[in-house]
């Protein structure tokens, strides 16, 4: 908590100094950024290949321990290490396919299932803890978040014995359907573990999970994993979580209570909820410089959206799903410009359309996508707080940045590539990384049989090292 408080103070100080630069979530639909923007100072970028040969990579991160290692997460249940020289180590760091004598522990039957992400404890260098989130085969695809501890004598390989000997299940998210299971887990600048939890799947949010506070589905969750092993609890609810108090059972008082106070009683709410109304926050990222949070919330038939949450947020935001689809009402029945839509919740900072932006619309020939996969926030090469994200279908790379002069968000198409993006992350220097796979729905031969994917580093185009391989870009 101390870290977040410090960050908060720092952020507040910065806000006072540069009030005009404060980034805020849009409050009106016409403030939501659409494609076509131009981020001031943003350079032409390139994707430089770091390494390849990864089997359905689903995420990437670093241990922040000074080793320079990059950890690439593979859907089947393995994690590969790329060392500081760019070499892929032969043995996987983690292999969840080998820990259960009955077979793999990871459910990969549908292309959206598998090992989603790993996250290293902020004090990993001292305690060796890291966490994984994956679809569990024994639990019929439920998402499990598990903590492990690295053996200092074997920093690059977790043996099956070590995995089983140190595994501590933090929580299990029941999954009703095999899609929209979310995935990303990441520690925030406050030291708490954030979990992106999808609405559970199918389409149209049949369970209305996004706005149901009694389920973890369709939420951003926040928990405190710093619990002694003899505590009896796998985690604690941060007392500052927005529903930590509202969820408590209590004696009933009917009189002398204001309506505002009544509105703070939500005894069915889950106290782990940090924010709600998300559909599939498969990827999210904190700005390493400011602590601001960006969430790439994968959309349904017509729009993809990127949510912005300032570092000073106290949580509790409703991002609208399933009542909203971006800045438009859901379900979309025609041209949203003609619809009488009352906005529910907090609007996204930006959104981009599918090829058909609404039922009956003429198909777009440019500037569209189908599934937003967040990478990370760039603070280099002329970019300040620019959230980079890629599209799974069209290979477009988007930049979302705050335009200080215009006091609004700008969504800029940075490039279009031949890559099918699945996720991103950071190296230890804060460079933004991306991974691509080749595993699209019916063209899925299984997580170890699909054509391999690769790991990329995003750099300004004029800083591509000589001899480097760069992503193919539409001219």
């Amino acid at each position: 908590m101390v870290k977040r408080t410090s960050l908060l103070i720092g952020t507040l100080a910065a806000m006072v100094a540069c009030a005009a630069q404060a980034q805020v979530a849009p409050t009106k639909p016409d403030e939501v950024a659409l494609p076509g923007g131009k981020i001031p100072g943003a350079p032409k970028i390139a994707l430089v290949k770091v390494a390849d040969g990864f089997l359905d990579p689903t995420n990437v991160t670093n241990a922040n321990d000074g080793s320079g290692r990059i950890f690439v997460v593979e859907r089947a249940g393995t994690v590969r290490i790329v060392d500081k020289d760019g070499k892929v180590l032969p043995d996987p760091f983690l292999d969840l396919t080998k820990i259960n004598p009955l077979g793999t522990d990871v459910q990969t039957g549908f292309v959206e299932q598998g090992l989603y992400a790993i996250a290293f404890h902020p004090k990993f260098k001292e305690n060796g803890y890291f966490f994984a989130h994956y679809a569990s085969l024994p639990f019929n695809g439920d998402g499990v978040v598990v903590r492990y501890q690295v053996d200092p004598a074997s920093p690059n390989v977790m043996t099956p014995e070590r995995v089983n000997g140190t595994a501590k299940v933090i929580l299990r998210i029941e999954q009703p359907y095999y899609n929209h299971n979310g995935g990303q887990i990441e520690f925030g600048p406050d030291g708490y573990l954030y979990i992106g939890s999808g609405d559970g799947g199918w389409e149209g949010d049949p369970l209305q999970a996004g706005k149901d506070l009694s389920t973890w589905l369709g939420k951003m969750l926040r928990i405190d994993v710093n619990v002694p092993d003899d505590d009896g609890r796998a985690y604690k609810v941060p007392p500052t979580n927005p529903f930590a108090d509202a969820s408590k059972e209590r004696l009933m008082s009917l009189f002398g209570i204001t309506e505002e106070q009544f509105a703070k009683i939500r005894t069915k709410s889950k106290p782990e909820i940090w924010a709600y109304g998300v559909r599939n926050p498969y990827e999210f990222a904190f700005d390493p410089k400011t602590g601001n949070l960006f969430i790439a919330d994968v959309g349904q038939n017509h729009w993809e959206e990127i949510l912005f949450q300032p570092a000073a947020s106290k949580g509790g935001e409703n991002y609208g799903w399933p009542d909203m689809e971006g800045k438009f009402c859901h379900p979309m029945t025609g041209d949203p410009a003609l619809a009488n839509c009352a906005v529910v919740g907090v609007l996204p900072a930006a959104q981009y359309p599918h090829q058909t932006p609404f039922p009956g619309a003429k198909e777009l020939t440019t500037g569209y996508g189908c599934s937003v996969q967040g990478f990370g926030v760039a603070n280099y090469g002329g970019m300040t707080g620019v959230y980079l994200a890629g599209d799974w279908c069209t290979g477009r790379v988007w930049g979302l940045g705050w335009d200080v002069g215009a006091k609004k968000w700008q969504l800029q198409e940075m490039m279009q590539t031949d890559l099918q993006y699945t996720a991103g992350g950071y190296d230890e220097q804060g460079n933004v990384l991306a991974v691509n796979a080749n595993n699209f729905y019916l063209a899925d031969q299984g997580p170890t049989a699909n054509p391999p994917g690769a790991l990329w580093r995003i750099v300004p185009a004029d800083q591509v090292p000589a001899g480097a391989t760069v992503a193919r870009v539409k001219q």
Binding site: E363, T417, N438, G467
Partner: protein, 170 residues
């Protein structure tokens, strides 16, 4: 503008862009590209294929173990698909299309995540031809339009293209 003129213009544009580009390799399994051409047969009488995104030459290196059938050899020389209107090839192409393509382009090829394949609109003008269709299926386009040359033989791709053409003629 005719398709031919579009191709010529596009190739000229690609040349201009490449001339200004820094020297580094591009992604994909193919080795660094040779100088791009305009689609005319190379010196050996073989057609040169070019990636729809950047116009760079496609090296046909996927699935090196595959058999180069008579149809493929002919296509390499003429850029015309010998399987067009061949009922057996079209039937085989349907099976492959349903396996690899229908998820995005739909069974009737009217498009969903991927574009409509049977209308006269083309995201890439060159895909109006057998050659352009082969180029995008073999080497991929953008994003999820992967290089299906990694999953199908060239002979299979020609059968898929013949099937798509049959749908367009319906």
């Amino acid at each position: 503008m005719t398709d031919h003129r579009r191709r010529v213009t596009r190739s000229a544009l690609a040349l201009l862009l490449l001339a200004a580009a820094p020297v580094f390799a591009q992604s994909g399994d193919a080795p660094p590209p040779a100088a791009p051409g305009g689609g005319a047969p190379a010196s050996g009488g073989e057609v040169e294929f070019h990636h729809v995104l950047d116009g760079r030459k496609i090296e046909l290196t996927y699935k090196p173990e595959q058999q180069i059938t008579e149809a493929v050899a002919s296509f390499h020389k003429t850029a015309q698909n010998p399987y067009n209107d061949n009922p057996d090839a079209v039937a085989e192409g349907k099976k492959l299309y349903d396996q690899w393509c229908a998820a995005c382009h739909l069974k009737d090829a009217t498009g969903r995540i991927g574009p409509n394949l049977i209308d006269n609109d083309h995201l890439y003008p060159q895909t109006a031809t057998d050659k352009g269709m082969f180029e995008i299926v073999y080497a991929g386009g953008a994003g999820a339009m992967q290089a299906f040359g990694r999953r199908m033989t060239q002979d299979q791709i020609l059968k898929v293209l013949a099937y798509v053409k049959s749908l367009k003629q319906k």
